[in-house]
Structures are given as C-alpha cells and as structure tokens.
C-alpha cells in the first residue's frame, strides 16, 4: 500500500471532497494563497481557485459564524482554525449557534459544517496556543468531535466529517502532520471511516491503554516498552472519535484486561478521560480489578520551556510508570 504523511492524507481527503461536492468550500486564515500555516491545504487554492478555497481575515467569530449561516442554506463549509486554541474567540458561534440551532428550531435548521485544525501541546507555543478542547466540545450535545492519530484515519475520518450533516469538530495535531503511514489508494475505491468507531491498534491482554490523537502514538510506544521490559501485554484502543463514542469497544477491552490506563493530553480536571472513566466504572464496574488510572497533562497552563514541555504532556515514560504503579498480581 502507499505511504503518505498525515498532512498529505488529510489534504487528499479534502481534495476528494472538493471534487465530489461543489458545495464544499474551504475557509480559513492563510489557507489559500499561503498554502496553509501548516501546509495542510497546499496546492488546493491553485487547483480549485478563489471560490472553493478562501482566505479569511483574522476574525474567527465572523468567518465561522458565516460558515454556519451558509451551511443552513446548503453550503458545506470546512473551516480551518489555524490552532484549535483560537476557538476561544469564536466560542459563541461554536457552541451556541452551531450546537443549538437545530434544536432551537425544532429540527428546521441544520448545520453541516466541519471546523478543523491542530489541537495540541508540545510545540513550544505557550499556554494560550496549547488548549486541548476535545472534551470541552464533546460536552455539548449537537456537536461531534473526532481526533485521528494516523494518516489513514485522518483521511477516512475527514471525509466522513464533511459528509456528515451535523457540525463536526475535527482535531488534528501539529506533531502528527509529518508522520507517515499506509493509506489506501483512491483507485481502490472511496476510503471512508465512519465516526464513532474506535480502532484496536494493538492487541494485548494485561491492561487496556485507551487514548486518542497523539496519545495513541505514546500509548503504542509505551506498550512496546511494557512488553519488552516488563512482560506486560497491553491492548491499545484508539478512540478516534470522541462523540459519537465507541462505548462498546471500550467495554470490550475492559472486559478483556480488567485494568485500564487512560491517556489524554487534556488537563486532568475533566477532559475526555474523566468521561471515559465515568462510563467504565458505571458500565463495567465488576470487570475492574483496580481503579482506572489516567495520564493527563500536568495540571498547569501549558509551559513554554522546551526543556520541560514534554514532561508536562503524556509521554511513554509517564504511561509506563503509571501502568507499573498498578501492582500487577
């Protein structure tokens, strides 16, 4: 199979959807003539022109609200936040308009938008640029959230997100854009991954590591160390989609291993992992041999210093330590 970077796979997904549906339009800061701050949209303006790939001013509330309004009329805007952290200046549009308009209109309006961009720490850009908002947005009924970890997943999921008739908030990761992986050839058919399906990225039996986004990569690395150095064999479940959430897959791995470590780049108050822990203890209480543990970011705004930033984030070392702290019988 072909190998693509995460960035290329994502771009290919966008490109295919631009080709499939003339109502799909990409909007965002620097995405057209500049080819994207992180080059995700490179070449798309050249190929598709001013109408389909649109540079916007630095007015996130304005242009995202504009996309929501246009979507009610049948346009399908895919909007880039240069960093997901900039959600803060567009929050009302994201959680009051996009999430509520269908409900408040008794189903008369709908809002088929995608908002996408990187949502992660680890790049030395400091606290205001390193928010991790998967859990924050998944908390709003009316919204869907996903967070793919691999090139194949990012392509398959962006295509589902664009075709979905509800608002989907699509959270990428600047530190994954350059990662490579196999991605099916378009010649072999339309490659789409539905929202709401988790992916068991590694099979084990002793413990379940449940993660999403870049934490999946860390969990996989930790699993190899655990196996090689400690003989502990981990299931690694990649949630991929946060809402809808593949609860069945979560319960399946818990029932297999009886021990769980959640890996989540969020700060520890809340986040996706608090919700997963809550669900597991509620729905698989008797299957648990030990409390569910979490590896989150250390509980402070995100630090700049490159000497220490990775220690604030989940990383393989912290995951291994957490697993080992669980005193296997």
């Amino acid at each position: 199979m072909r190998t693509l970077t995460y960035r290329e796979a994502l771009r290919e997904g966008l490109d295919e959807e631009l080709a499939r549906d003339p109502n799909v339009v990409l909007l965002g800061e620097e995405i057209a003539q500049y080819n994207g701050a992180y080059k995700v949209t490179e070449g798309l303006w050249n190929k598709w022109g001013d109408k389909r790939v649109v540079d916007t001013p630095i007015s996130e509330a304005g242009f995202i609200g504009m996309g929501i309004g246009a979507s009610m009329l049948g346009v399908r805007p895919v909007m880039e936040l240069m960093f997901w952290s900039f959600h803060s200046v567009a929050f009302d549009q994201l959680v009051s308009n996009a999430a509520c308009v269908r409900y408040m209109s008794g189903g008369l309006c709908h809002c088929p938008i995608v908002v996408r961009g990187p949502a992660n720490g680890g790049t030395g850009v400091g606290a205001t640029h390193s928010h991790i908002p998967e859990g924050l947005f998944a908390a709003f009924p009316g919204l869907k959230v996903c967070s793919p970890a691999t090139p194949a997943d990012v392509k398959g999921l962006i295509k589902s997100a664009i075709r979905d008739n509800d608002p989907v908030y699509f959270m990428e990761n600047t530190l994954l854009y350059g990662n490579t992986g196999e991605v099916p050839d378009p010649a072999d058919g339309d490659f789409v991954i539905p929202l709401g399906v988790a992916d068991l990225k590694r099979e084990g039996k002793d413990i379940s590591l449940i993660a999403h986004g870049r934490s999946v990569i860390h969990a996989l690395a930790a699993a190899e160390i655990l196996k090689a150095e400690h003989g502990i064999d981990a299931d690694v479940l990649d949630l991929r989609s946060i809402r809808p959430l593949d609860v069945e897959a979560i319960l399946r791995t818990v029932h297999k291993t009886h021990r769980v470590v959640l890996v989540d780049e969020s700060k520890p108050f809340g986040g996706v992992s608090a919700m997963i822990a809550t669900i597991i203890q509620e729905e698989a209480f008797d299957a648990l041999d030990a409390p569910i543990r979490r590896v989150c970011s250390l509980d402070s705004p995100s630090i700049y210093s490159p000497h220490i930033e990775n220690e604030q984030l989940p990383n393989p070392k912290r995951i291994v330590e957490k697993v080992l702290s669980m005193k296997f019988a």
Binding site: P57, S59, M72, N97, R102, M104, S105, L108, V247
Partner: protein, 362 residues
Amino acid sequence: MLQASPASLDFANSPINQALTAGDKVNLYKQMVRIRRFEQASLKYYNAGRMAGFLHLYIGQEAVAVGTISLGGADDHFITAYRDHGHALAVGMSMDECMAEMFGKQTGCSKGKGGSMHFFAPDKNYWGGHGIVGGQTPLGLGLAYGLKYLGREGCCLCYLGDGAVNQGAYHESLNLAALFDIPVIYVIENNGYSMGTSQKRSSAYQSCLAERAEAYGIEWDVINGSDIYEVRAKTHIAMERARKQHQPSVIEIDTYRYYGHSVADANHKKYRTPEEIENYKLNHDPISVFRTRLVAEGVLTNEQAESISKDAAAEAARSVKFAEESAAPTVADIGTDVYWESDHQTAASKIGRHFFNDTAVQ
C-alpha cells in the same frame, strides 16, 4: 454615502411605493395590525403564566419588519434577534404556530423547543430568532454569502438592536461583508434603548450608529421607522445594491418600543419618561401614521380599519385556543432534533454512542 432625506420628502412617491396597489397597501396595514394584536394576546397569556422565559414585545416597531420584509423576493432571507415575533408574522408564519411555540407546545414552529426568542421558518426564508446579542450577525452574513456562493440573486436582511452594535462579532461581520462583497444588509432597529440603557449610555458614535459602517467603506442610511413608505423606499435601495452589486449596507431605522425590554422589565417607566412614551404613541405610532395616511389616500376607510383590527384580534384569540389545545412535548421529544443524522435514522447515527444520558444504564 446615502444622505438622510429631508423630513419633507414624501416616500409615497418613490417607485417602489408607487407600484403598490390599494390592496397591497391595505395588506401592509393589515400585517402591522396583526402583529400588534398577536402580541397583545401573547402579553395577556404571558401575564397569566401560560408561557415561560422572556416575552420581548415588538409593539411600536411594526413598520420595520412589515416594511422591509414586504420587499423580499424568492431569494431574499431574514434573520433577527430575540424580538422576533413581528418578523415571523411578516414573513408569513401563522399565528397558530407562533402562539403555540410560546405556549411550549408540539405544534409550535420550533416544537416548543425554542420559545419566544427562537421562531424559525426556513421555508419562508426566515432563520430565527436568536438570543445571544449580536450572535446572529455572522449568521446573516453567512446566509448572504451562501446566496452568492449558490449563484442566487438575493440578499439577507439581518436585524439587530441599538445595543447589539457593541458586540465584536458584528464588527467582524462588517469587515467581512465589505471585503468579500457579500449581499447582506444590517438593519439596526434603533428603539433608543438596550434594556434600561439609552443609546448614549451604551454607544460612542458620531451622528448615528449606522455611520460606523463608514469605517469599512460600507454604505449606510438612516430611516424614520414610523413611516412604512420611507422604510420601504430606502431599504429597497439597499436591497437592490446587495442583489445586483453584492454590496452590503447598514441601515438604521429609528423606532420605539412601548413596553419594557421584556415583560419582566418593571423599570421601563423609570429609564424613560411617560411623556416620551406618550409622544411616540401619539405622533409616531407606525400603525396610526399609516392608517391616517391610507384614509387620506382614500385607500382605507375607518370602518375597514376597525374590521381589520377585529379580525386580527379574533385570529390571535383563535391562535391562543389552538395553542392551549395542542399537546405538550413529551420527555422523549427532549432527545430529538439534536443531530440531523439521528433524526433521520441514518447509518451514521447508529454507529457509536451519540447520547450520554444516565438513563442509558440502569
């Protein structure tokens, strides 16, 4: 820049108004009266405890919604804030569905899910009813952007209040509208107050609020909202500019609300004088002004006006009955209209958990 017209100008003579038949004129009158009677009925039942939340009455402002919306063609769209009953009736929504919405019934336009602030009728190009001050301004921009994107010759009228102009989203929208040549018209319904705060206490400006449009090179105008002819004549210009040239405008329509900000506003005679309110009712009421005018034109008799009023009151009373007799939503209804995919039972809706109710597990 458009110039504010001398007070003496008679907008009855502008082509868009000359094109009105006698029947058209009577119909405009009738629409204004229907709004007023509808709201009077809703006030009565709100006070009787039949509705929840807020009730923001439009009474006094009727010429704005009726005048502007009367200019709408098949591809012209409308969106406003929470003071949304007038626009709803003007676009052709029935009193029944509107009253039932306020009563929180299944038969309401939003199935009882939105309430007074959230009337919608996309089939009539009406996109709400929005409660967050200024929050609708980027949506209106988007509807207009959508029209242009889809190649339709139309425009979007996006209404906002004199207090809403101080929300940042509105300014972002103005810049985008001018930069992208978007056929949106921001209609500032200036009733002089945002809740208990007068225009002067909430906004810094030169001659008026619409003039802020100059900052973005956007055309603007000021309109006397008691004269439906003037509302139509000047709004028409802005709409044509939008439809034909994709140019946005800001128009400020001076108007007044007789009641408080919402019915819960017990202070409304404190922040403005009774004389101010009386003066408006006596000399600037858009319905009286138009009635006098139509009678003078020989288009309407006082008897006809009375019967229009009676009919409207009867229609409103019927809508109350309709609302009262309609069924309330059930607990199961709480869970619908959240996701399009779930409502349509699509394949996607069956994959993964979408809802996290505690009742899911027992």
